[in-house]
Symmetry: C2
Subunit: 413 residues, 2 copies
């Protein structure tokens, strides 16, 4: 099972701790790092001077002299932006975008283009990714650090090893091996991640106070996605990316879902379902393939304006989400929620029904205490999440190990 700790793991782990402390805090001093990691000052001193000489960290030159205290001033440590760079790719329905990001997290170059993903062969999808990444790397030229990692946030179900796109609403094809192809093309590790998991990862970095150890991100768009952080870790399935909240069953044998099954939460709360209930009035009608943001906003406006099928459609959506959350809360207790995507703009209409449904479930005891937050624009979140995923991999897997700690160190000295 779990393996013993070798002597050389010790350094690797503690280097990882230091890098992680610097990435998390803003220019922490060595003393602060010692405090947060619990390691001694001398250890932090040794490790950080190693990392600086390897070009991974740098001392902040003009740290604002916040101190105004006596004594030697603290000198902040920061990530050396030129230590490396990563590529964050976001692939969604009819849209592909990518960016090169330096080691400190600044965007170097980016590109976005529209594609008709549902009508492209699987090969072509991968080719588009490869092409865009290639162009970005070429345009960035020799500036900054070498690209050490690529992360792709993609709508759909990925495998647990983050290598393939198992299934996605953006294409008719299954099992598309994005990672293998891109690794072969660029010679760096590639991971393929579910977009909602990346949204959760991004929220954690945007607001570490609210979204710390346990929270839930729900993407309300054409379908319903979820990113789940439990006990400080992204919750993924054992074989897939997991957390397919949209396909939990709300009503057995109920409304027709885009996935072909019946009664899924998505079949009540996805944009297509809300539109169908509001405008078609038949929950068994074939789901629309796509729906513009304006379409759904129009339904929301109508629902706000007067009672009628639109308002009823949002009631059903809120109810489905609420009962689904209630079932989840039976499994692992309530947690703060973030609603992301176009649907979040209409969340005000759904919220009372979500709360009413949760109140009827095991999560009901705390239903008033559960915090809801909305963020309409999911695109930057997906990119930030993929970026953080890639950067953290560089931190932990490459820089913590210390590329040839003896040989490279000797070269430098």
């Amino acid at each position: 099972m779990s393996v013993g700790i070798r002597h050389d793991d010790l350094r690797r782990r503690n280097r990882a701790m230091v890098i992680s402390a610097v990435r998390r805090a803003s220019q922490p001093s060595r003393t602060e790092i010692a405090a947060t990691t619990g390691l001694s000052h001398s250890t932090i001193s040794t490790i950080s001077s190693d990392l600086i000489s390897e070009g991974i960290l740098a001392e902040a030159k003009f740290s604002e002299p916040v101190s105004m205290k006596r004594g030697r001033p603290q000198v902040g440590l920061m990530l050396d932006a030129d230590a490396a760079s990563v590529v964050a790719v976001v692939l969604s329905l009819n849209s592909l975008s990518a960016a090169i990001i330096d080691y400190a997290g600044n965007t170097v170059t980016e590109e976005t283009r529209r594609l008709v993903t549902q009508q492209m062969p699987a090969e072509a999808l991968v080719d588009e990714c490869v092409g865009m990444v290639r162009r970005l790397i070429d345009s960035a030229g020799a500036s900054g650090g070498a690209v050490l990692r690529i992360a792709i946030a993609v709508q759909g179900i990925t495998d647990a090893a983050s290598r393939k796109l198992l299934w996605s609403p953006i294409t008719r094809y299954d099992d598309i091996p994005f990672a293998d192809r891109l690794e072969q093309e660029f010679g760096v590790p590639v991971s393929v991640e579910n977009d909602c998991n990346m949204i959760a990862e991004a929220l954690r970095w945007r607001d570490p106070v609210r979204y710390r150890d346990d929270f839930i991100a729900i993407l309300l768009s054409h379908g319903i996605g979820m990113g789940l952080v439990i006990k400080g870790e992204l919750f993924t399935g054992t074989q897939s990316s997991g957390a397919e909240f949209g396909h939990m069953i709300h009503r057995p044998d109920g409304a027709l879902c885009r996935c072909g099954r019946r009664g899924c939460i998505e079949a009540y709360a996805g944009n297509y379902a809300i539109w169908r209930n509001a405008r078609v009035g038949d929950e068994n009608a074939e789901p629309l393939a796509d729906l513009s943001d304006d379409d759904i906003r129009a339904v929301a406006d109508a629902a706000r304006d007067h009672d009628g099928p639109e308002r009823e459609a949002f009631r059903k959506a809120g109810e489905a989400i609420g009962f689904g959350l209630g079932s989840m809360f039976a499994l692992f207790d309530p947690a703060p929620l973030a609603f992301v995507g176009v649907g979040a703009t209409a969340f005000d209409i759904m919220e009372p029904h979500v709360r009413a449904a949760i109140a009827k479930t095991a999560g009901g005891l705390h239903s008033k205490a559960i915090s809801f937050d909305t963020e309409p624009n999911e695109v930057p979140l997906k990119r930030e999440g993929a970026m953080m995923r890639a950067l953290l991999a560089v931190d932990q897997e490459i820089f913590a190990a210390g590329t040839a700690p003896r040989r490279a160190g000797a070269d430098v000295a």
Copy 2:
């Protein structure tokens, strides 16, 4: 956040690895331990001779000479039964039992008695536990190692810190602080655990091949309980023991549940629900407080014998369980299942309906591959689970640390 690895943690962790390897395997040799832990032979040699001199491990005297190989024969290591002992307490509806178990896992003494738990004040429940543990410790006398840990498996929801019984069907009272009282009484750490979690823990030790990293134990009795192991760890809630499968929502605003809410899985699949559907025919009728095993077996026999309300009741139960599992599998992919308790004797009637329901959900793709296993007798499983929980705590928290590694070691030498 996570804290750095201090120099002394290293030894503690590797000692823990060795102890754990010995507990898991049956009399492994030092060489085998080195292989499974990945540590060097010299390290294993040092650590194991320390552990032997501290009286935690012992060399097996007459290990069957399975080898028949040339060379120095391997000498198996085993846990020293006298190193310590633990108490495993199982508290269920109308029944309390406890046992003293030595460090090697052998039962030293045990006692069981019937109580009318629902009519006892909270204090009296705790008093009964204290009294029984006291009698056991007294009767065991000075034989064996000192009691270093107590674990209580109790039906109901416990808090995440395993200290209190938050809610339980066995009593009208909430927030009963079992751990505090018992610790005060016996001066050793006490943990209060959900009984189904202990069932899962026990299954892992009974059949480590089938129940390894991901599996689900479902207790089919008056209510429905669940113990969940995901990625090698017992899955608990963030604030409570979690995995309240029985109170996931099967049908919004559906049948009346024992918990007062509506539509819970338990309200269709708990013994009282099956009995109610079979014999009362009104899913809103007030649930019975208790039901004998014979009652439910009679319904099962009737269902097997002829079509009618009994068979229909089991169909509804299987359907509720199947859809609930399907919803869970949307979150974390399918896993092997063990059905435990009286209800498991009737599982043959439910199985086709469980599978049919799962097939209608996101878990349906693999519905045929999901393995079902039944074990009617839950009582020994609860005890074994509590025992393992307590023993592992002694392993990891007490013996791995090495009580005063310098001073005690010096005393021995």
